[in-house]
Symmetry: none
Subunit: 213 residues, 4 copies
Amino acid sequence: MRYGTTAARIPETRRPVKTKKKADRRVRRTQQSLYRALLELTLKHGYEAVSVGDIIAHADVGRSTFYAHYAGKEGLLLSGLNLLRDHLLEHQRAAQAAPENSPGRLLGFSSALFEHVDSHRDLYRALGQSGGGLVMARIRSMLSDLVRLELAAARRPERSDDIPRGAVVNFVCDALVSQILWWCEKNPRLTPAEVDSIFRRLVVPSVRAACLG
Amino acid sequence: MRYGTTAARIPETRRPVKTKKKADRRVRRTQQSLYRALLELTLKHGYEAVSVGDIIAHADVGRSTFYAHYAGKEGLLLSGLNLLRDHLLEHQRAAQAAPENSPGRLLGFSSALFEHVDSHRDLYRALGQSGGGLVMARIRSMLSDLVRLELAAARRPERSDDIPRGAVVNFVCDALVSQILWWCEKNPRLTPAEVDSIFRRLVVPSVRAACLG
Amino acid sequence: MRYGTTAARIPETRRPVKTKKKADRRVRRTQQSLYRALLELTLKHGYEAVSVGDIIAHADVGRSTFYAHYAGKEGLLLSGLNLLRDHLLEHQRAAQAAPENSPGRLLGFSSALFEHVDSHRDLYRALGQSGGGLVMARIRSMLSDLVRLELAAARRPERSDDIPRGAVVNFVCDALVSQILWWCEKNPRLTPAEVDSIFRRLVVPSVRAACLG
Amino acid sequence: MRYGTTAARIPETRRPVKTKKKADRRVRRTQQSLYRALLELTLKHGYEAVSVGDIIAHADVGRSTFYAHYAGKEGLLLSGLNLLRDHLLEHQRAAQAAPENSPGRLLGFSSALFEHVDSHRDLYRALGQSGGGLVMARIRSMLSDLVRLELAAARRPERSDDIPRGAVVNFVCDALVSQILWWCEKNPRLTPAEVDSIFRRLVVPSVRAACLG
DNA sequence: TCCTAAGCGAGACGGTACGTCTTGTCTTCCA
DNA sequence: TGGAAGACAAGACGTACCGTCTCGCTTAGGA
């Protein structure tokens, strides 16, 4: 979930922070400690098994400090998600520049997503296994925005017997999440490209038929 | 703690049936009380918000009695799943009797599943919303068995560039679950038949292409 | 607690039993099973650690059967105490036959008591250690009757500065119980005679002074 | 779980006192609330009938807070015993200053003990009645230390036919406890001085004979 | 350079749910 | 029909977390 080394900006804090000017190096250090602790403990024991108490002990941070920054365990984890969203949005925009009907245009961010997952495989496995349901739901919700955006742009005029747009968006998002979890849990040997190919063979034709028919 | 040294004196000759039957009457009543309580409370407050204490209070059952029958809240809910599984298996077998390549043969149990969901719409909505993630996971796992069974039977010889069977099974199951949740949460006006149609238009062609070449 | 092999009569039952004619061999067998189970489990794990559930499981008896015979764990244990009381009463009567002021006359049952304890040392240790407080209290209460009886008979006319009779009885009984427990827990090598001697040296002179002044 | 890597930076130089003091104020208030609740409830319903739930409800304290301070109901009650022990030790030391063989020297703390009991008569009655066996056992154990200490100091060289020291200590302690319970339960009209007198007349001569030959 | 407010550690606290345990009652079956 | 088996309600137990809170220390930015 950490992009490169600039794991700084974590906007999902409780308090607007006001960011006086230098945005408190101390604050940043604390938040990074907590985030790192969450990741490490999740990898070791699974997301569900980690308690707030574990996190603050591992991060050597006071309990009240934790709650001063995040609403809870999930808040902390979710704070890392915005980075991913920005990353995918960028790829989506790039794909939109491709010529109409070119094969990689529709859902063009998918390969970037699988690449991302590939570089955090252990974390996703940990989330998938031990009930990080809520986190996956948030990822799903984020993907949902992307897909809706794309289909809204691409769609030809709606016909009466069309599949409802929401159903298609839903189908695509869950297929993505499903693919990710299956990859991480069951078949970790595949390359991101292979996984992307599987995904596209299963999903894209149906979506094309349903929306661009 | 092991009873039964005397009970085992006469191993299987007498009547292990009649004794069981009568005792079961009370047991069944208790279990039904608990199950009904769980459903009612889940509908009212959401699955996650219901505690074991709530359930036993509502069912007027002792705490130890609850744990004598079920491992926990989830165990109780899961106990209702076996009936559904049997129901679906029956429909699957019926569909298999249809001629090869007829349209409703593949995943023939899907309409039965959506019919079932239709008659428990509120419950599924409650499960979907408030984090019955684990329960949906169990339903998914049950569906997984059905789908795996069917694809194993239907599949032509495997080719090297085939999509791995597991990926397809995974894709189908999650599409089913996804469809169910979307239906219950977002678009409750559709009929089961319409939902089934959407599902089949999105999923079946890809599956046919992937498995039946 | 079991005298010889005739461990039969257990009068402290809940129901008068009515003893139709053959006095239900089954009932007796059940009661013996329970009593034996209690003793064995008490020796193994200590009195407090044994639950009714353990007893009936070990005796292979149904729960309701247990409560049909005894009011609880204590009731069962206490049912063995009457035999001891009769035994001691007999010795007390024998000692009373001795000439006035002979050394062994006062509290003449003490040696019989210590002899009894000697033959059930393990049980008393188990009772003393793990809080068989209530049982020791019952033994104490039984001894109390004996001592009160004896002092009432032996006492010269009461004087104003006498120690209250109840205080003396109390003192003697607790000294006996105290001695028993100390013997079993701390110093199991002493013979019954030695223990009796210690007891008499510590207690009898004071009692004689207080009552026979 | 070990905090203190930062807190230990400045080992013992600053002020480990002030910090503790303030924090203790709240702690002390909580502990006193709990102790008071225990006493009040014990007086009202008897020691055994009081559950941890009752105590925390009456003290308006969280369950976990209770267990953070005490191991259980007994632990809470026992926490009040240390004060008594210190009190008695002081009296013992004062008595030791008396001339050899003066009447009040041996077991000189006894009157202080009975005075103490006198001022908590209701509590001791409640403990004695309803099975505060374990608590009385702890009091006994505390007295045991005092007596052992005293006899060890006072004793002349041991002779072969001496009563074992442990037996004497045991005898004295149980006589004290016995006297206390008898007083509280059976004869509450006596003054502490009278009770002390009874105790001393019954016990001290024998002890003197056994130990000071 | 001092002062002041914020960040922070430490952890006490009230609360809630958990799963286990034991008790004594009550129903049902069997001989 | 009376004794045995065991399902059951009741509720205490000790544990685990949670999210709130109070308390001083420390530290850095503005006066």
